[in-house]
């Protein structure tokens, strides 16, 4: 499963990167979203994939079950998810503004800040 | 409805405060809050709820039964080729009036397999229903009005 999910990660990155390389504002924002997913999965996966219960301590116990999943990567990914959410939603609103200003979805029209 | 919800919420809150979710706590919470709401009914100003709790239970059982029955019919239809379907959009005239009544009725219709409430007219007098097995629309209308609508009115009035 590890290898499968590693390939899934790569596929998500590929899709994200590809979307960013297109001309459409919409695709841009979807690409950012996918990239964020992809990176989260990469972090989650690298830390080691287990098919195990969540790191929750039963009432009365002092530690989670011995085979519980590693909690740290979960915390990291959770943080990353929320950060990704924040950034992507702001980017989404920006994209909307951009689309309104341009009256177009075409990123190729957005060259004024560079040239 | 609101009161029932309040009751339910209070029960949940009870359970949460106890700290461990469990049947016992929930039941205790529910009973306690039921009593409290009954005692303080002047605060809320409606008493029907307490009479209707038994009716509600009966209503729920009726729904479950309808659900199971009709599910089987849909299942059958999914498996077999499109032979005995006769889909239609039916306009059902409404006697129910309040938001809660209309909503409950619409949801019931939707929840029942074979029928799907599509829209409520602007004047709230007509409910449009999509039905999968309505050979006779008149008959269909009547079934709805005498089945669901009657029970809804019984429950909420």
């Amino acid at each position: 499963m590890f290898v499968v999910l590693a390939i899934v990660t790569g596929a998500l990155f590929t899709c994200g990167f590809y979307l960013l390389m297109q001309r459409s504002l919409t695709k841009l924002i979807l690409g950012l979203l996918l990239l964020s997913h992809a990176a989260n999965l990469a972090v989650f996966l690298s830390a080691g994939l287990t098919r195990s219960p969540a790191p929750l301590v039963e009432l009365g116990e002092s530690a989670p079950p011995a085979d519980a999943a590693d909690p740290l990567p979960q915390a990291l990914v959770l943080t990353a998810i929320v950060i990704g959410f924040a950034v992507v939603s702001f980017a989404a609103v920006l994209v909307r503004r951009m689309g309104e200003a341009l009256s177009s979805d075409d990123l190729d029209l957005m060259r004024r800040s560079d040239t | 409805m609101i009161l029932f919800l309040t009751n339910l919420l209070l029960a949940l809150a009870w359970m949460a405060m106890v700290g461990t979710p469990g049947w016992a706590h929930f039941v205790i919470g529910f009973v306690v809050s039921y009593l409290v709401l009954f005692w303080l009914s002047s605060l809320t100003g409606r008493t029907g709820y307490f009479r209707k709790l038994p009716a509600t239970i009966g209503f729920a059982l009726f729904i479950v039964w309808e659900l199971i029955l009709a599910n089987l019919r849909v299942a059958y239809d999914v498996i077999t080729p499109a032979a005995n379907r006769s889909p239609a959009v039916v306009a059902v005239p409404l006697d129910v009036e309040t938001d809660a009544e209309i909503t409950l009725l619409a949801n019931l219709i939707t929840l029942t397999p074979g029928t799907l409430s599509l829209d409520v007219s602007e004047d709230r007098k007509t409910l449009y229903v999509h039905a999968m097995f309505a050979e006779d629309t008149e008959e269909f209308c009547r079934e709805i009005k005498e089945g669901f609508e009657r029970r809804v009115m019984e429950l909420l009035r």
Binding site: S52, P53, A54, L56 | -
Partner: protein
């Protein structure tokens, strides 16, 4: 009593998971094929319902009631997405 005490039961549970997977695939096909937006939303809805069932069975398999919370939230998710997409459909120019 745990599922893992009964290998056949565990296998059965995994079979159920696989069947749910198949249901997900069916929904996914509809999700991809459309053709109309409501079609896709219906499919997405069903996908999530299947996920609810997966979560429920996993809760059983892993003995982790917390996963049922996930099921609740999944249902909520499906609802809110539906509302949002319906909202979109009504607002968007035809």
């Amino acid at each position: 009593m745990t599922l893992s005490d009964f290998p056949w039961a565990l296998t059965a549970a995994h079979t159920l998971l696989a069947v749910l997977g198949a249901a997900m695939v069916c929904s996914a096909v509809r999700l991809l094929r459309g053709p109309s937006l409501p079609d896709r939303v219906v499919a997405l809805d069903l996908l999530v319902i299947a996920a609810v069932a997966v979560a429920a069975i996993l809760a059983w398999v892993y003995r982790q009631p917390a996963l049922i919370d996930l099921a609740v939230l999944l249902a909520l998710t499906a609802f809110i997405s539906t509302v949002a997409l319906a909202w979109y459909m009504e607002r968007s120019r035809p």
